[in-house]
């Protein structure tokens, strides 16, 4: 490691922001991928990977991805829940990678729920 | 202790033994430079040991307090100046425990092995066998659903049965309660039990 300047301290802090928003809970949005047996069978895994890729490509640091069990609507899997802090959570269903891109762009980043894919708003939060 | 830490204890702890524990530590850790700390803590420890082993006498509490105060005033550093605190505070708040150790030779918490006897109250014992299973020295005998008994000459007074019993049927009595009877398998009847309680 080279000698640090005061600016370097800020840069390091910035660089680790994503990691720490995970741990400290300082994130703005949380995407929960429902990974019950049904979800996995329906392709939840690739949906989650797509969401992770979107986040990484956009270099967004205040969005976290988490998983949960079956959301209780196996027929409509893969499903995700997007929670923007201080807004009602939105559940999306029948997802694929393309829809994820759109949801990420419009909802996660833009803050406007993508109504055409949405199942319901204001459902219970996950752990 | 020096750092102002806190230790939480309940009535399963004998306060004389607790004071003794801290004095063991300070007597061992005294650097040996100044007289009150080097010799005084050692004397305190010896006296506490005597009390927990049944050799206490009536003047001891007064002597402990007096010596403790002198050690605190005269010691060179914080070690000696605080080492007697456990003695003083346990005497202050749990004087009765000291008194029962000294006068009745009875450690009510059952910690001081020379000052207690564990007996099973036949009326409370359900014969569940829990105590029998935890007894490492196999001192407890008894048939299922019938009151169990503790063989006093085998019992090492480890307290395991006491902690295990869910029916409070195991009582801690002074060692003298069993004087002359230790060779026999004994139970205690509730009459005796209540009398002493």
């Amino acid at each position: 490691m080279p000698r640090l300047t005061i600016d370097d301290l800020q840069k390091i802090k910035e660089k680790y922001k994503a990691e720490f928003s995970l741990r400290e809970g300082g994130y703005r949005a949380k995407v929960t991928v429902h990974m019950g047996t049904c979800g996995i069978a329906a392709g939840a895994r690739s949906v989650m990977t797509a969401m992770m890729d979107e986040i990484a490509n956009a270099n967004v640091k205040d969005v976290i991805v988490t998983t949960s069990g079956c959301a209780g609507l196996c027929a409509r899997e893969p499903m995700i829940t997007v929670e923007i802090i201080n807004q009602a959570p939105i559940k999306y269903c029948d997802l694929n990678e393309g829809k994820i891109k759109e949801i990420f762009k419009e909802h996660v980043i833009g803050g406007n729920p993508v109504e055409k894919y949405a199942l319901v708003a204001g459902c219970e939060t996950t752990y | 202790m020096g750092s102002g830490g806190m230790v939480v204890m309940d009535d399963n702890n004998c306060m004389v033994s607790t004071a003794k524990f801290f004095l063991e530590f300070t007597a061992d850790e005294s650097c040996g430079k100044c007289v009150p700390c080097r010799i005084g803590t050692r004397i305190l420890l010896d006296m506490l040991t005597d009390i927990t082993e049944g050799r206490g006498n009536e003047k001891d509490i007064e002597t402990l307090e007096d010596l403790s105060r002198d050690i605190i005033s005269a010691s060179l550093c914080g070690l000696g100046q605080t080492a007697p605190n456990p003695v003083l505070t346990t005497i202050k708040y749990f004087r009765d425990e000291y008194e029962s150790h000294i006068k009745d030779k009875w450690c009510k918490a059952g910690v001081c092995r020379d000052l207690c006897t564990f007996l099973i109250d036949e009326q409370l014992c359900k014969g569940c066998g829990a105590c029998l299973r935890v007894c490492s020295s196999k001192a407890i005998t008894g048939e299922k659903k019938k009151p169990h008994r503790i063989a006093q000459d085998i019992c090492v007074r480890c307290r395991s049965c006491y902690e295990t019993c869910k029916f409070d049927s195991i009582k801690i009595l002074p060692a003298s309660a069993m004087e002359g009877k230790t060779k026999k398998l004994l139970t205690v009847n509730s009459e005796l039990s209540t009398k002493i309680w």
Binding site: M1, P2, R3, L4, T5, I6, L9, I12, K13, K15, Y16, K17, A18, E19, F20, L22, R23, E24, G25, Y27, K30, T32, V33, H34, M35, G36, T37, I40, M48, M52, I55, A56, I64, V65, T66, T67, S68, G69, T126, Y127 | M1, G2, S3, G4, G5, V7, F21, F22, F25, T26, E29, S30, C31, G32, K33, L76, C77, G78, L79
Partner: protein, 347 residues
């Protein structure tokens, strides 16, 4: 940069390590790899969480699920259920005695719930062996501020105003202690840290040194600047090998990053720091005995005066602060005296 969706903060304090943290970690790594999750789930070893009785413990972020009493056998199931299926494993969660339902979140467990972490602000949140993680949590900001924007007098004034008192037990006002020493003219002074925690059953200093070594070092840098010392010793008992190791690593990282040594933050201020391991005498936690011990002599207290602020280590003006006291210093410098005062415990 890799993105992980979850961080597993596995406790690597002395207690948990003794209970098997390292075996659990290996099992976790194996299992995550087996499930193809190794690039999604990150394992971080942390300092002590203060819950050694039920170790090894770990918490999973972002969910904040707290697991306790982990065993190698439980790991495959845990990985499958939690990390793959998103179903936290109830069996390994904390249960109140006499209660049946588990408490999944760390923040809901009564033991943790009411804790306001200041000294241990980074406990369980950072990897104590990585300086970057400390920096990411505002580490060395206070040192930067103290070294480049504040005079010694200003630092001391903040300390005095904050009302902080020594956390080693005697409770002497730290600001005053620094002020006494700063006023003694001398080319050589020493900034010392007392990590000789010897009380039976006391591990608060150990948990700071293990969980957040940089906080102590940063406190020492600030203190050194305040009193005008350019040399420091961290006196740590040899019975704390993990604390010694992490402090040693941290000091090495600081030297590499220029946070110790010459001309820190180009402020012109030099400070060298090394660890001195105590041989385990309780009395060496006493200020004057500790200094004699560093001098290589028999660790025995000596009468005061002279006070260490005038004649301490090698008869030079010295300040000795407790680990916990020093770990608070960066907070006070960053947040100000009033902030500290408003949150101060009543002594």
């Amino acid at each position: 940069m890799e993105r992980f969706r979850a961080n597993v903060m596995l406790c690597a304090g002395t207690g948990c390590v003794a209970s098997g943290t390292m075996k659990v970690k290996a099992a976790l790594q194996d299992e995550l790899k087996k499930r193809g999750l190794e690039n999604e789930i990150k394992i971080v070893l942390t300092g002590c969480n203060g819950y050694c009785a039920k170790g090894p413990v770990m918490s999973v972020y972002p969910d904040d699920i707290f697991y306790q009493a982990l065993t190698v056998e439980e790991i495959p199931k845990l990985v499958e259920e939690h990390f793959l299926k998103g179903r936290p494993c109830q069996k390994l969660m904390f249960k109140e005695p006499e209660e049946k339902s588990p408490v999944p979140l760390m923040k809901d467990i009564p033991f943790f719930k009411y804790q306001v972490l200041r000294v241990l602000r980074n406990k369980g949140l950072i990897d104590p062996e990585k300086i970057e993680e400390y920096i990411a949590r505002d580490g060395y900001q206070a040192a930067a501020k103290a070294l480049t924007q504040m005079t010694s007098q200003e630092i001391i004034q903040v300390m005095k105003n904050s009302g902080i008192r020594g956390r080693g037990g005697a409770g002497f006002p730290t600001g005053m202690k620094w002020e006494f020493c700063s006023k003694v003219p001398s080319d050589v002074k020493y900034m010392l840290c007392n990590g000789d925690e010897g009380d039976p059953g006391a591990f608060m200093d150990r948990s700071v040194m293990e969980a957040d070594p940089h906080a102590v070092i940063e406190g020492m840098i600030i203190g050194a600047k305040a009193i005008g010392a350019h040399n420091g010793y961290l006196y740590v008992r040899a019975e704390y090998p993990l604390a010694v190791k992490r402090l040693q690593l941290a000091i090495g990282q600081c030297y590499e990053a220029g946070l110790l040594g010459k001309n820190i933050f180009d402020s012109g201020f030099d400070f060298d720091l090394e660890i001195y391991q105590g041989a385990g005498a309780f009395v060496c936690g006493e200020e004057t005995a500790l200094m004699r011990s560093i001098e290589g002599k028999r660790g025995m207290p000596r009468p005061r005066p002279p006070f260490p602020a005038h004649k301490g280590l090698w008869n030079k003006p010295s300040v000795l602060n407790n680990v916990e006291t020093l770990a608070q210093v960066p907070l006070i410098i960053l947040n100000g005296a009033d902030w500290y005062k408003s949150r101060r415990m009543h002594h």
